[in-house]
Symmetry: D2
Subunit: 159 residues, 4 copies
């Protein structure tokens, strides 16, 4: 039978990054899955792949919203793929579909998602170092980021 | 660990329909879930809701791609919601993200999804009665429709 | 100074078609421009190009809503290009941005635009032969099609 | 007859701003039109309206890419309206359809457009004060901003 809808946590970050960011993203994915939330991401490589891999190691569910027209572009750890065919415009869908966003490194694409998330009044947590934008929350570790994101979502629900 | 990606079957149809169409959609949803595929739909009421309900009765996973900006608009049986905020343009995402489409009744919105599916060379099965468009396959029962859709997908993969 | 907003007439049809359809589309473009309306289309070749060419011969303004990410893909007769990068999802923008649609031949992509136009309650005129869908208006010549489209738009405004 | 395609300059900025930003946006619109380029914007109020008004005072052409589903939401100075119905996802179309972007004040929506423009490797000029993001160019006056934008576009074409 139906239970209450799971939270959907978006993890955003670069398609190109170093091994440190990948380890951080994997840990974020693990923590999100441990708390029973769906891991939402852009479905491609690097930060997106590492986060999805982490979530799957903990038995989580992963959703990838791809920019292209081929499901085959999804990384191996994506359970459910939205094949948007919309290019960069899909960034708005990632922000809109997430209850909150966690940014791990990332460049201009990630910045656009942070900005869209803030515009939509979603909680946005940036792992340090990372984009410094007024209105985001900052965290020093994956555990802190996920802890913070869930407390912010619950705060939203009470208000 | 990761297993092979599940098929994603889109069930499309009217947001307004009679009880017969709802029973048909529920049966389609059940059959899709029994075969281990994800049930993809527009996430709203009537045909979309009945198909998602059917899938959940068989322990399936359901994905709704919503036209609006609020997750709360999803019907109760949607596990994972893409909150597109794109209105009718989201119909293209439903078609693009489905390995095949099954249409249950439906009006112009459904017709646009059938046309987009055909344009993208996806197998499209219409349950009788329903839109008569060159290139679609037709089925007389939910069981026949789902049987047909899976044989068409497998045929695609061999070719 | 500002004058009343021009009507925007969408001309839809195949990216692949014979010389007869091109001549028809060019005539439609001419008639649309003679009446002072903006010619809106998908911006690519064949029917879209012929319609835009016709409009420019009469000093009209042409708008192309492209599916890809490069403005260079627009045909030579497009004054203003929207570079959507959205693939088939741009069909919804063509329908939504048009006060009325005229279809010249066309296949599944065109059918999706006809269906979206009808869903959005826009007047849709199909030049014979062409898609036979309940709710469209039919015309035998470019002149009749454009005449009909403008009478339908004005009818809408009075109601 | 056809002449070379006009440049399309996107002016982005807040839907809520003070009278100083409106005067700046109007001056930017004037300068863009004087140089024969199309003024592209989000089609709504404040910065978007002032820029379009400025362009029309100089006989320019204005294109508005609206987030909603009603053309009536366009400001009075929009010649051609794309009625996207896509909400915030339309920001990607504004960036993708512009040869370069000029930002006048603006909040998170504007920041998302700046980030998308940079991601797409478009020249982006921010009028001071305004978002300080690595990779943007900055200008102190409307004249300087427009001068800079055209020199950057021409530099792109030579490279």
């Amino acid at each position: 039978m139906k239970i209450a809808a799971r939270k959907q946590i978006g993890v955003i970050g670069a398609g190109v990054c170093g091994s440190e960011s990948r380890a951080v993203a994997e840990a974020v994915g693990r923590e999100v899955a441990k708390r029973g939330a769906v891991l939402l991401c852009g479905g491609l490589g690097r930060v997106m792949e590492a986060a999805a891999y982490g979530a799957k190691q903990e038995g989580g569910i992963t959703l990838g919203i791809l920019p292209g027209t081929l499901r085959e572009e999804a990384n191996l750890w994506i359970d459910i793929a939205v094949v948007s065919g919309m290019g960069h415009a899909r960034n708005a869908l990632i922000a809109q579909s997430s209850d909150a966003l966690i940014a791990v490194s990332g460049e201009y694409g990630t910045l656009s998602e942070i900005a869209l998330g803030l515009k939509m009044r979603k909680p946005v947590v940036v792992l340090e170092p990372g984009w410094k934008i007024e209105g985001v929350h900052r965290a020093k570790s994956p555990e802190e980021a996920v802890e913070l994101v869930f407390s912010l979502i619950e705060g939203d629900e009470k208000s």
